[in-house]
Each structure stands twice: as C-alpha cells, then as structure tokens.
Amino acid sequence: MLVEARDLVLGYGMRKVLEIDELMVEGRRGTIVGLQGPNGTGKSTFLKACLGLREPSAGSIALLGSEPGAGGFRNVLTRVGYLPQARPPGLLRLTVKEVVEGGRYGRIGFLKRSGERDRRAVLEAMEETGVAVLARRAIQELSGGQYQRVQIARALAGEPELLVLDEPGSHLDAEGRSGVIKVISKLASERKSSMLLVAHDDDLLELADVMITFADGAVEYSDA
C-alpha cells in the first residue's frame, strides 16, 4: 500500500483544509499517482502529512505501510525521495555535488562512512538529471530550472522506492519547466519510479496511472 488514510483531518490551527474518510492507494513498482486540484485544496499539506512533516488534527495516515511517529517510520523515509515546491537555495554555500550527496544521508546512517555504492548512486542521479556538469558549481549560481533538477537529483540519490514530488514544474520559466518535465518523464519510463506527483501541468499529469482530485476539502480517487 502506497498511502492509506482513515478519518484524516488536516488543517492549520482551527482552519480545516482537508477531510478524508478513507483513502487507499495501492501501487506496484512504477505506479504514478497524480494529485490535482486548485491551489489551497490541501495537496501539499497531504504530502507533508504522508511524510510526517505535518501532524493530522485527527485520524491516521500511513506511507508504505507505516504511520509517522511509529517505530519503523524513519526507515520508511530512507526509502522515499522528496521534492518540495520550488524555492530559492538558502544561504549555505554548497556545491551541487554536496546537495545531491545530501540526499543519501538518510540511507548511509549515523556515523557510517559513505562507500562506493553511495558514490555511484550520487553520480547516476546527477547524470540522469543532467546536472553532473554542474557538480562543482555553487547552488546559488544556478538558474531556477537547474536548481530544481539538482533537487530532483538529490531526491534520486537515496535510490528511493517512492518519489514524492510537489509541483516540480511550478515557479519556473518555460525553459526550466520543460527541462524538469523531461527529467520526470524519463524517470517514469526508464527508472520505473513510483511517484506521488502534485502537478498542474498536463504534460506531467498525463504520466499518472491513477488520480486523486482535491476539491472543496475532500478527495476523489479515480483511474487516470
């Protein structure tokens, strides 16, 4: 089971954003779940709740069979690659390679040294997303589209079973968006990555096998 939610209520303070009685999203390897709906209907909040970044006001949610806060949930997170909505890089001067390597930290674990497999996974992720040539550049020097591809490479570096992508093409110029869409389409066809994909682009949504539509504080599940 990719995602399972029961009697779930998500909100900010007293404001209720989303209410789900029951949602079961099953998936095999390569299943792409599209999440669509107008802004403010709780798509990103739902993804954050799946990852344990936002606590539900009520009810339960489970990702890959484990609930946030449960004993094994940390291990679940090491099997997931997360790409949040596009935002500019912070103030820490990191190279592209360091950012992508960072995507592997959860998998390497505390006090363990990185090995050959880690180096290979980082290199493959950078090559797949076309950012290997930028490896030594500082992230603050990149364009929005390049930086978003670096973030995708970061999510891939952990060799995730599931990619959680929150509007990967948004806030980018046309060229940046087209580059990101190409990378995600390639991941879907070649890597066969399972995805939870929030998007507004039709080009991205047409990759989905099943669709969850968010509207009026509720969700509707359908085959794409």
Binding site: L53, N75, T78, L91, L94, E98, G102, G103, A138, R154
Partner: protein, 278 residues
C-alpha cells in the same frame, strides 16, 4: 617576545586565541546559514542578565552567563520554529527585558554593574584559569560535534524540512546547533568582548565562505583563517600597542576583503570557462 611566555595571562591568551580561532568560525558559518545575526544580540543581553544573576548569588558570572545563553538559545530556537517574522518582535522583547531585569538587579543589590559589563568588554589577556578551561572545553565540544555530526548539521543548515523528510532528527539537530552557537557566544564574549564577538565567529566564516568550495571546505578554511586572524591581530596589537580585540577585527576585515577579491577572481575564471566554445 619569549619573555612574555613566562607570563600566565599571556600563555592563557595564546591558548584561548588558538582554540577559539580553530573552533568558533564554524559557529560563524552556522550563524550565517541560519540567519541568526539578529538573534545573537538577544543572546548577548541574556548573558548580561545571567552574569548579573551570577554576581548576585556569588557564583562565577561567566558560568551563569553561559547558562543564560543556553536558555536564551532554547527560547530562540522555539520562536524561530514558528516563523522568522514572529521571532523578530520576541527577540526585541528578550533583549530589553534582559537588560531591564539586569539593571533592576544592579540597582536593588550591591552587585557591581561594572563587573557584569566586563563580559561586554572582555579581554583575552584578562582570562582567568576557569575562563580558559571553559573556553577550551567549549571549543573542543564545537570541533567534536562538527566532526561527528557533519552530515546532519549540513543537512539541517541546508534545509530543515528536507532533512526531516529523509529521517534525520532535524529538530534535535537544529536545537543543538542553536544552543551550541549561544554557548559559543557566551564564551567568546569573555575573549573578545560581546561587542566584538564577530571577530572570532563571523569574520573568518565570511572570508571562508567567499571561496565557496563546499561545506567541509568552508569549515576547514574558516578554522585556518580563524587562527591566522586571531594570532595576526594579537601580534599587531603587541607590535603597535593596540587593544587586542579591535586589532583582531581589523585583521579579520582584511581577510574578508581578501576573500571577496578571491571570489571575484573565481567568478571571472568560471565565466571564462563557461563562455569558452566547446
């Protein structure tokens, strides 16, 4: 110069400058990455209150200032979890309230305000044995924690949400960083004086950041610059008969300018490489 080595305050100063130069630029890197520059003023004021409380109860003002720094750090970390904007007003409150309470203590007791304010005007040549032990201990803690938790610290400085989403205990690491920074500020106050604290934290970190070759490189370069700035400033103060902390600041500023020049050269070189036809 060698005859000075026979003097205990001189030896203590050399040791303190070495360990703070080595360790505290890492704190400067954390301060810059987490945008804690305004927060450190609140910590300084909380430390003053701590020192006043220490003097009131007859305990070491540095030790009580450190406790106050840590408590202020925990409070700041809690505030900044909500939002940077809401933290701004609260920091102002912490600053003014700390000062107000400190002055009430000075007024209502026999505490000598000048002694508490010595923290603000601290001098590396006035360090006591206890001050030195605390400073060395703090510096060693900063270095060991940076080495052991390098990956976790980098992940949290880069993006707390992403770090949490990959199973790193981001909240605990974030609180740890803030408390360490506050502890470092408390210790550095005695070495350079609160008003010149940036000399041993932010200036070497800024110079190192200009070279921008990644996180580990920034930390290592910051440590090298930190020691060079501290000893360079100390030597300058000795030779020209200047106060130590301002001399360290002047040398630190020169390093920052040099770093900026190096950054421009790196920019020009990478622009040439990018524009070269393939």
């Amino acid at each position: 110069m060698l005859e000075y080595l026979a003097l205990a305050p001189f030896r203590r100063a050399l040791i303190a400058l070495a360990v703070t130069g080595l360790a505290f630029p890492a704190l400067g890197t954390y301060i810059l990455a987490l945008e804690l520059v305004p927060a450190r003023f609140a910590v300084m004021h909380a430390s003053l209150l701590g020192a006043a409380v220490g003097l009131f109860f007859g305990i070491s003002p540095l030790a009580s200032a450190l406790v106050a720094s840590v408590l202020a750090g925990a409070g700041i970390a809690r505030l900044s979890e909500r939002s940077a904007a809401s933290a701004g007003g609260s920091l102002g409150l912490v600053m003014t309230l700390s000062l107000g309470l400190a002055f009430i203590l000075f007024y209502k007791s026999d505490v000598n305000a000048v002694e508490a304010f010595n923290l603000f005007w601290g001098s590396v040549l006035a360090l006591s044995e206890t001050d030195l032990i605390l400073t060395v201990g703090g510096a060693i803690a900063v270095i060991i924690l940076a080495m052991v938790f390098l990956r976790e610290i980098q992940a949290v400085l880069y993006d707390r949400v992403l770090a949490a989403a990959q199973g790193i205990p981001a909240r605990a690491v974030y609180f740890g960083i803030i408390i360490l920074v506050c502890l470092g500020i408390g210790l550095a106050m005695k070495v350079t004086g609160a008003l010149m604290i940036d000399a041993v934290t932010i200036l070497p970190a800024l110079a190192a950041r200009s070279m921008r070759r990644g996180f580990r490189g920034t930390l290592i370069r910051g440590a090298i610059f930190g020691i060079s700035i501290n000893y360079g400033g100390f030597a300058l103060a000795m030779v020209l008969d200047l106060p130590t902390s301002p001399a360290i600041i002047v040398v630190g500023a020169l390093f920052v300018f040099a770093g900026k020049l190096a950054e421009r050269r790196i920019d020009r070189r990478s622009a040439r490489i990018t524009s070269r036809p393939s």
